[in-house]
């Protein structure tokens, strides 16, 4: 059995990373074996529905070592309320919505909890929201699920999105308000179904959110899984994708923007357990402000049986100011040589001074040039979503995030000091 494992990490920009990797091509622009602790095969990671099996972490464990465990601690309890959030669904006419007890046989079918918050949430929830796209249905509208935080009572919620065989649908999952929430999102995509799921974390600034997304793809199923994390104090999202039939295809796209003091963590796991499936992971983040911290971990496991696998994962981080820290750890395990392709890339860089010079040399004030560069950094990713109404909304969100950050970004600028209000509205594409 051939087994290779690579790891790359960790760019502590505060410690003086000055290399510019922001234009590194997706051709393995990364380092190996820098920092981090060696970890065992992802296949050996403990998973269970039993809260006694996955115990409360100390923070030193591989999967918790980057996380602010003290802030997440309330969510390690299996005694969680349901009152902290209100869930509202506006569904497409073809789609059905039910509230069901945890005992419903459809629940717990996609994957298995893989960390303490996930197993605690499973044991704590009393009921779940089930969104069903019937087999062969083609949803004529976006189904919107709005999760609104209404109190800081530590709470758990459970959502199942079930895309029936050969169905086609788009689901938007929004998180707003203030909550301390451990959430499970099961995404079951049956044979030949196509699903786009967009999960937006736009919490107010005190929210603490742990979320286990567990995707199960049937034969020839196709999933576009989009994560957008902007708000909250701590957001820790762990999307898992598991192929159970041949010919499945998952595209996992992520976009995050961390401001001062925010912790945004995305840990992905793509489990290639059957032959001839394809996965693409593209996550991009921007950071600005003191103690802004992002973590991206991308685990891909190509099991021995998974011949013909085609996988690629990419993470890029743009550090906009001093004092921010981006951790980036792609892991690729390959247990068979009979694959189509496998690769990863990770790059973390500051603003590219040459880009800024070029734009400024065309008369564009420095602050506007910076906005253009950040906007462009995310725009390509947003345009790949393929749902126009959602793209427009996300571009507006990024614009708002940029406006909010501008004072800080401008504060780090060594020169200029030009009034940005005159051309500030010209940045939208």
């Amino acid at each position: 059995m051939a087994s290779t494992q690579t790891e790359s990490t960790t760019s502590d920009v505060a410690a003086g990373l000055s290399t510019d990797h922001s234009r590194a091509a997706a051709d393995g622009a990364h380092t190996h074996g820098v920092g981090g602790t060696p970890q065992g095969s992802r296949a050996e990671r403990l998973t269970s529905f039993d809260a006694d099996v996955i115990t409360v972490p100390s923070g030193r464990e591989e999967e918790w070592r980057f996380s602010p465990v003290a802030k997440l601690a309330p969510l390690f309890s299996t005694e969680l309320a349901s009152s902290g959030v209100q869930t509202t669904v506006v569904e497409a006419p073809e789609v059905t919505v039910e509230i069901v007890p945890r005992s419903d046989a459809r629940l717990g079918q996609a994957g298995v909890p893989g960390d303490r918050t996930a197993v605690a949430a499973w044991n704590a929830v009393k009921e779940a929201t089930v969104v069903t796209v019937p087999a062969q249905a083609v949803a004529s509208a976006v189904t919107s699920i709005r999760v609104e935080g209404v109190s800081a009572t530590p709470s758990a919620s459970h959502l199942l999105i079930h895309a029936g065989a050969l169905s086609e649908s788009v689901v938007l999952l929004d998180h707003v308000g203030n909550a301390v929430l451990s959430e499970t999102v099961e995404i079951v995509v049956e044979d030949g179904a196509h699903l786009t799921l967009v999960s937006v974390q736009d919490w107010s600034s005190e929210a603490v959110h742990a979320s286990s997304h567990r995707i199960r793809l049937g034969r020839d199923a196709k999933v576009k899984h989009v994560v957008v994390t902007l708000g909250g104090d701590v957001v820790r999202l762990t999307p898992d994708a598991e192929f159970v039939g041949e010919g499945g295809e998952v595209e996992m796209v992520g976009l995050y923007f961390a401001d001062a003091g925010q912790h945004q963590e995305h840990r992905l796991f793509v489990d290639h357990a059957v032959p001839r499936c394809k996965s693409r992971v593209t996550y991009k983040g921007a950071l600005q402000g003191e103690a802004a911290h992002t973590v991206w971990v991308g685990d891909v496991l190509i099991r021995k049986e998974a011949e013909g696998t085609d996988t690629y994962e990419l993470n890029r981080n743009l550090v906009l100011s001093d004092g921010a820290r981006a951790d980036s750890v792609p892991n690729l395990e390959i247990e068979t040589g009979l694959i189509e392709g496998a690769g990863h890339a990770s790059a973390t860089g500051r603003f590219d001074d040459e880009q800024l010079f070029y734009l400024q040399a065309r008369g564009i004030p420095e602050s506007d040039a910076r906005r253009l560069v950040v906007h462009g950094f995310f725009a390509e990713l947003i345009h790949s979503i393929g749902v126009e109404s959602i793209e427009a909304r996300l571009l507006a969100s990024i614009e708002a995030e940029l406006s909010k950050s501008m004072s800080v970004i401008e504060g780090t600028a060594g020169t200029a000091g030009t009034d940005s209000s005159d051309a500030g509205d010209q940045v939208t594409a």
Binding site: Q360, A361, G363, L372, F377, E380, Q426
Partner: protein, 253 residues
């Protein structure tokens, strides 16, 4: 009429071994409507002059002055210089992923003019200028310089020159790496700007080839960080046959 006046300009660049002097006293005056060619061997400081005028942070002006109609250019930020009327067509234009050419051009035009261009005429102007430069309309939607060939990047620079209408344009080795067809297209673009506006030009080149298409009024030979000889177009012809050897010998002597 405008005047760009460069007096006794000394510029150094930071290297690992410390500051290295590149320009050693450049004197040059360009008036509106004039075309000055700066020719010289590799490493003579031609591009340093171009980037110093545009305000690239890598270069430090250690003494001398640059004024545009009496205004102190060296006190201006990069974008202020552009808004004052300076334009640098770069030898290596930079890729800006995710920013479309359309958006970039409109943002730049708005910044230079201080107000957004009237939409209808602007779209027509962009389209016309792109057609004249034989640029496919699909360029408008592509990211700035991303995936452009060398010739496409240079045409994109001249497109900006035509649309932004500067008072003074510095063309930094715009001819390098171009085949004859592309060179002709780019030169036609420059000549259109010469014919239609009052812009002054500083044409930096290693080769005399481009001077067959863009006629200079003055030729300056740049050696070792300063102007070693000046003359009319006939000086270019002489360089064509003699090369730079004569200057290099005196420079090292």
């Amino acid at each position: 009429m405008s005047t760009l006046d460069i007096r006794d300009l000394h510029v150094s660049v930071e290297t690992k071994e410390g500051a290295k002097q590149i320009l050693r006293g450049v004197d040059l005056t360009i008036d509106s409507g004039q075309t000055h060619a700066i020719m010289g061997p590799n490493g003579s400081g031609k591009s340093t002059l171009a980037y110093s005028l545009a305000g690239h942070p890598k270069y430090t002006v250690t003494s001398g002055t640059v004024t545009l109609d009496g205004e102190d250019v060296l006190a201006m930020t990069v974008d202020e210089r552009a808004r004052a009327g300076l334009f640098l067509a770069m030898q290596y234009p930079v890729e800006v992923p995710g920013v479309s050419v359309t958006n970039f051009l409109r943002t730049a035009k708005t910044a230079i003019d201080g107000q957004a261009p009237a939409l209808r005429t602007w779209v027509k102007d962009v389209k016309g200028a792109m057609e004249a430069l034989r640029m496919d309309s699909s360029f408008a939607d592509r990211s700035v310089n991303e995936g452009f060939s060398g010739g496409e990047k240079k045409r994109h620079e001249i497109l900006q020159l035509e649309l932004l209408k500067p008072k003074f344009a510095i063309l930094d080795e715009t001819d390098s790496g171009l085949d004859v067809d592309a060179l002709r297209i780019v030169s036609e673009g420059v000549n259109r700007v010469k014919a239609n506006t009052d812009a002054g030009f500083l044409l930096i080149t290693h080769y005399t080839r481009i001077l067959r298409y863009i006629k200079p009024d003055f030729v300056h030979v740049f050696v070792d960080g300063r102007i070693a000889e000046e003359g009319g177009p006939e000086l270019a012809d002489r360089l064509e046959t003699e090369g730079y050897d004569r200057f290099l010998t005196t420079a090292t002597a």
